[in-house]
Amino acid sequence: MKCPQCQAKLIEVPTMEGPQLDVCPNAHGLWLDPAEINLFVEDYRSLTAEVGQSATPTGSPLAPCPRCARPMEHHPVGDTTVMLCAACHGWWLAQGTLTQLNCRHSGVGAPIQLDEPAFYSRASRKAAASPQAAAPGLGRRPGDAGSAGIWVWALIGVMAFMIGGILLWSGIRQYLPGAQWVRRPDDMFFYQVGGVVGGVGLFGYGFVLNRKKRLIESIPTSPIRALAVGLVKVAGAAQPIEGLLEAPFSRTPCVLYSCHVEERQGSGKHQRWVTTAKGVSEQPFSIQDQTGAVMVVPFDAELVMRVDRSYRTNWLGSLPANAEAGLTRLGVSTSSWSLNNPMRCSESYILPGEVIYVLGTAQDNPLGHASFDNATRLYLGSSRDEPFIISDRSEQELLSQLGWKTKATLYGGPALTVACWYAILKFYLVTGP
């Protein structure tokens, strides 16, 4: 609600005996709901009779109603004026009006005696103590006062960008005309060109990671009983719904697992680890906290989990028996292995009762029965536009991990670009005498 005179947000000030009243923080007046006027005016009936007979003087400006913003009607009452809203029937009384109304329409005594000067004094003290008392509210739109500053900063940013571009271009123009190839481009040259481009890509990826980190930080952890549809963050103990699973290599009973199989391929200095198989269990499980439990469907989830078991081929080129059995269960053929193809297998799992963290989208569960419990009718799953993370790490660890990755890409990307560019210009292109 806003003051019709100065548009400041009305503040609530309690009266000594009765309800709280909405008052302008700049002491322009107060608002009374239709059910409140009879509490503060002694002879309410004669007042309403007089108001009903008066009419809005022509030419008087129509102030907007604080509640519904429709134009209010002015009604002269003796030496003062009251403003009424025809839509919501509330009263706007300028400072001092209530005292005058009680003088004019005195009766046996109003249920609540309001000392206006003391009341407005309390209101101004409360307004001074509250930082948002006179503020227009939560989040002004751009275009209000302060947008001029935005344009100044935007202009400074554009100018700095242009100066940087001009400097770079002039440097290139200074350097390249006299430059000569020292040696022909080889593999290292193309790697360094890749480094220049990759550095820019890493820099951009840093903003993606930063956005993800800010998203996780900005969503508070919700009790499961209070879940609502949309992106939510919960923490609790994982529990099975339809029985426990078995991790593929170690056969540990768990509610969720993921596994990774890699093979070392190539020769000499071109060897690299190539993923040959990976798998994630898709059986739903539930997460439970002190207030309730909700189903989690792990399909398409980003799993951030510690590696619980890992196996590598030994010097004879063979894996432990349980790892080979696990590969067979996963459908990975082991018949074409050779001593030159080392393999490594890793698995991560979530044990029943283990505390996990889930950031996902709460959606209506089509199989959930209609019940009192909001959590029963929802499940946590993936959605097209929002992240879906299941982790056995705490939120702090997750944010810490994202934090250093963000810094590494945001600083490392430009450093890589500059270093590779420098190497290209130093070893492949030199300026003439």
């Binding site: 609600m1 609530e12 309690p14 709280q20 509640r67 519904c68 919501c88 930082p131 948002q132 503020a135 227009p136 509210g137 939560l138 989040g139 002004r140 751009p142 209000d144 006062a145 302060g146 935005i150 900063w153 940013g157 700095a160 960008f161 100066i163 940087g164 571009g165 001009i166 400097l167 770079l168 271009w169 002039s170 440097g171 290139i172 200074q174 350097y175 820099f203 903003f207 930063n210 956005r211 800010r214 930080e217 900005s218 969503i219 508070p220 952890t221 919700s222 009790p223 009983r225 209070a226 609502a228 949309g230 207030t291 009192f372 909001n374 430009p414 670009t417 500059v418 560019w421 130093k426």
Partner: protein
């Protein structure tokens, strides 16, 4: 690589990085502010669910508590005041009054054994109890959302962006002093029944 080229390249990265950082901060403030609105709306949803139970509760109680007309009417009036409320503040005020009236009604109902044995009354009472627990949780969640927003608005360097775009701290949901007094009075003034 000469110094001009190096300076130009670093300046470009710095400017792009700074612009990206500022945009990220602004988007975070927008998200935090909208989280508060959403958290309040989610409270409103459960409050409406509770309000739909109230006419049934009053009807069941009416047949047993014919002499407690004032207590029953207080619940009805508070519910109507909530429906009429236009802003968050109006609804919060009406909700506080309704919570007090409902608390008094349930406290008075304790003195009617026949009513307490009525299955429909028990069902509605349980439903309201579950909803009130959910409301309490969502209020805490609302306060947590406001807390995150207020921290972000006050921290450096986001305070610079917040001031520039007019993002101001938001009030937490607090229990009114009058509501605490009502709870105490309800138990103190409850008539003893034999």
């Amino acid at each position: 690589m000469n110094a001009t080229m190096l300076v130009g390249l670093l300046l470009l990265f710095a400017v792009i990085g700074l612009i990206g950082y500022v945009i990220g901060l602004y988007n975070t403030l927008v998200r935090l502010a909208n989280n508060i609105r959403k958290a309040w709306s989610n409270i409103d949803v459960v409050l409406k669910q509770r309000h739909h139970e109230l006419p049934k509760l009053v009807e069941v109680c009416n047949s047993y508590m014919a002499h407690e007309r004032d207590t029953l009417e207080a619940v009805t009036k508070a519910r109507m005041a909530y429906d009429r409320g236009a802003s968050i503040d109006d609804k919060a005020k009406a909700e506080n009054q309704l919570a007090g009236a409902l608390g008094r009604l349930l406290a008075v109902a304790e003195g009617y054994p026949d009513l307490k044995a009525n299955q429909e009354f028990l069902h509605i009472q349980q439903r309201i109890s579950v909803l009130e627990s959910t409301i309490a949780d969502r209020r805490e969640f609302f306060n947590e959302s406001v807390n995150l927003y207020n921290i972000k608005v006050a921290q450096c360097p986001s305070v610079l962006i917040a001031n520039q775009f007019g993002y101001t701290p938001h009030a937490l949901l607090e229990v009114l002093k009058t509501e605490r007094e009502h709870v105490q009075l309800a138990f103190a003034n409850r008539p003893s029944r034999t």
